[in-house]
Symmetry: C2
Subunit: 84 residues, 2 copies
């Protein structure tokens, strides 16, 4: 594994795991006033497309990272719709 690969793994880990604290905060506070519905609608669809792309192109890292992100993004989106 080269140092470029390591940067890629750290990048994927950072952007994937970042949605976990947002999901926890949103579940705990139900405060979604500052969260953009357009953002999470677009982002959830985009992440679903990344997951499909990862599966179809047999890219396991892309599929796994986006499956995890899709769970977090969907939770935030559902809370935004429910508690807007």
């Amino acid at each position: 594994m080269t140092y470029i690969d390591i940067i890629g793994f750290l990048a994927a880990f950072g952007t994937t795991i970042s949605f976990l604290p947002q999901a926890i905060k949103t579940i705990q506070t139900k405060d979604t006033s500052g969260i953009s519905l357009s953002m999470y609608s677009l982002f959830t669809v985009g992440t679903l497309l990344w997951l499909i792309y990862g599966i179809l192109s047999l890219s396991i890292p892309v599929a796994i990272a986006n499956a995890i992100t899709l769970i977090f993004a969907s939770i935030i989106l559902v809370y935004k719709i429910k508690y807007k």
Copy 2:
């Protein structure tokens, strides 16, 4: 270009552009109470690492998409720090 490539481009477009409505909303309302500081700290660092990875691995689409996302994410992070 195969249909898998098209799905990949749509996915990249969706997840990149999704941060634009959030940045606009945050700039206009300054309402950051529901936004997670941990999320945008992690996400901004992650996107910067993706940008570096894209440049070092000569992957122009990865570099461009993450350069755009980095701008939006940085704006949201700065507003979160300034108006928390």
